[in-house]
């Protein structure tokens, strides 16, 4: 994917914590890499809450594979000139708290620009982790087909179990109690998050991920 930047000299936001209700009032031009993800008109100015939830879940999925995923996201934001949206870890944490299930849930929803920047970053990091995503997804299929013993790939099974267990722990520790999901549903969520991250690691991954997120947004 070609990385194009907006005006690199544009000044960083003075108040990174302020959530704008509507991206149209943004004085800084939207970077081209973010603008490739189109916002459909039928959503209007308000960004659906389920998107904030889904993007946070994807980030948790990435953290389960790479413990330094958050630092990587912040560094990648600087590389792609997205520091207006994700200047540092604290701001990223604030953005993730737009997830309604979070313990520190903030009622303000994300604006479209920040959300799209996050999707671009999630897809970018998935591409770096593509090998691991592929291995985990393939292992999940082999377990379903009951082929692990025959193939002698028990070490991969433990790798996947570690991923699922870490997902369960991270999700439980960060979300409100009681969590409306039981352990089986959490496992299903982890596996579908893994599939989404796998497809996000492809050539037009950000577009595919964005479209899929929008299709189930409410």
């Amino acid at each position: 994917m070609q990385v194009q930047t907006s005006d690199p000299t544009s000044e960083p936001m003075t108040d990174p914590g302020a959530h704008r209700a509507n991206g149209t009032s943004n004085p800084v031009a939207v970077p081209a890499i973010v603008a490739t993800l189109a916002v459909p008109s039928h959503f209007g100015g308000e960004c659906p809450r389920s998107l904030c939830l889904d993007v946070d879940t994807l980030l948790i999925g990435l953290e389960c594979i790479d413990l330094t995923a958050i630092e990587a996201i912040v560094m990648m934001a600087a590389e792609l000139k997205l520091t207006d949206y994700v200047p540092h870890r604290v701001q990223l944490w604030r953005m993730r708290n737009a997830n309604a299930l979070r313990r520190h849930y903030q009622r303000a929803a994300l604006d479209w620009e920040r959300l799209r920047a996050l999707v671009v970053l999630v897809a970018g990091l998935s591409r770096l982790l593509a090998v691991h995503l592929r291995l985990l997804a393939a292992t999940e299929i082999q377990i379903r087909a009951d082929k692990i013993e025959a193939l002698g790939l028990q070490q991969n099974q433990r790798f996947l179990e570690g991923f699922l267990e870490r997902f369960r722990q991270l999700y439980r520790s960060r979300m409100q109690k009681p969590l409306p999901l039981n352990d089986d549903e959490l496992r299903e969520l982890a596996v579908s998050t893994l599939t989404q991250l796998l497809f996000a690691s492809g050539e037009s991954g950000a577009l595919r991920l964005w479209n899929a997120l929008l299709a189930k947004a409410v």
Binding site: M1, H42, R144, V191, L198, A212, L214, A215, K216
Partner: protein
């Protein structure tokens, strides 16, 4: 001058043959033949441009269904576009097949062979990735772009299923 391009992913290879008709000598702008080979099965999907477009659109639409439903979906997903069919056989297993008669009707190509292949989700991803690599390559078929399936408003059922989750968390 005939041009040949290949887009390889770990599970499938997409080969494209054509000629340059425009001013750019390296731009493959007229497709004469494409072949999509899978490494796990002796299956090749081959045909002309219309079949390629049908395959691109069908795979993109189906991928979207897989991504939005996850693997634990109860009702099986099915996409039928021209001669190309994709259905979910079981969770994580997908069947892709091309009908020869439908291909003759819809693409006016008589050389299309019927074929069928089972793909798991990783292999489906590789097929999608190969088609996307072709789609974003400006040097090959500039009019074939990555297809994004049309978005519909979330169905009432989806709203019923997903809203309580957010509502349960709200203070």
């Amino acid at each position: 001058m005939p041009l040949f391009r290949a887009y390889n992913t770990p599970n499938c290879s997409l080969e494209v043959e054509g000629i340059a008709a425009g001013e750019a000598p390296q731009q493959l702008s007229i497709l004469t033949h494409f072949a999509c080979r899978f490494f796990h099965a002796p299956t090749t999907i081959a045909g002309g441009k219309e079949l390629l477009q049908q395959l691109t659109a069908a795979v993109a639409t189906y991928t979207q269904v897989v991504l939005t439903s996850g693997w634990g979906e109860d009702s099986p997903a099915e996409v039928h576009l021209g001669a190309v069919h994709l259905t979910m056989v079981a969770a994580g297993t997908h069947r892709l097949w091309v009908q020869a008669e439908a291909a003759k009707e819809s693409t006016k190509e008589s050389t299309v062979e019927p074929c069928e292949v089972l793909l798991d989700t990783v292999q489906l991803f590789d097929l999608q990735d190969g088609l996307d690599k072709l789609g974003v390559d400006p040097e090959t078929l500039p009019d074939v772009r990555p297809v994004l399936p049309a978005l519909q408003q979330a169905s009432p059922l989806l709203t019923r299923v997903r809203l309580p989750l957010a509502a349960a968390a709200g203070p």
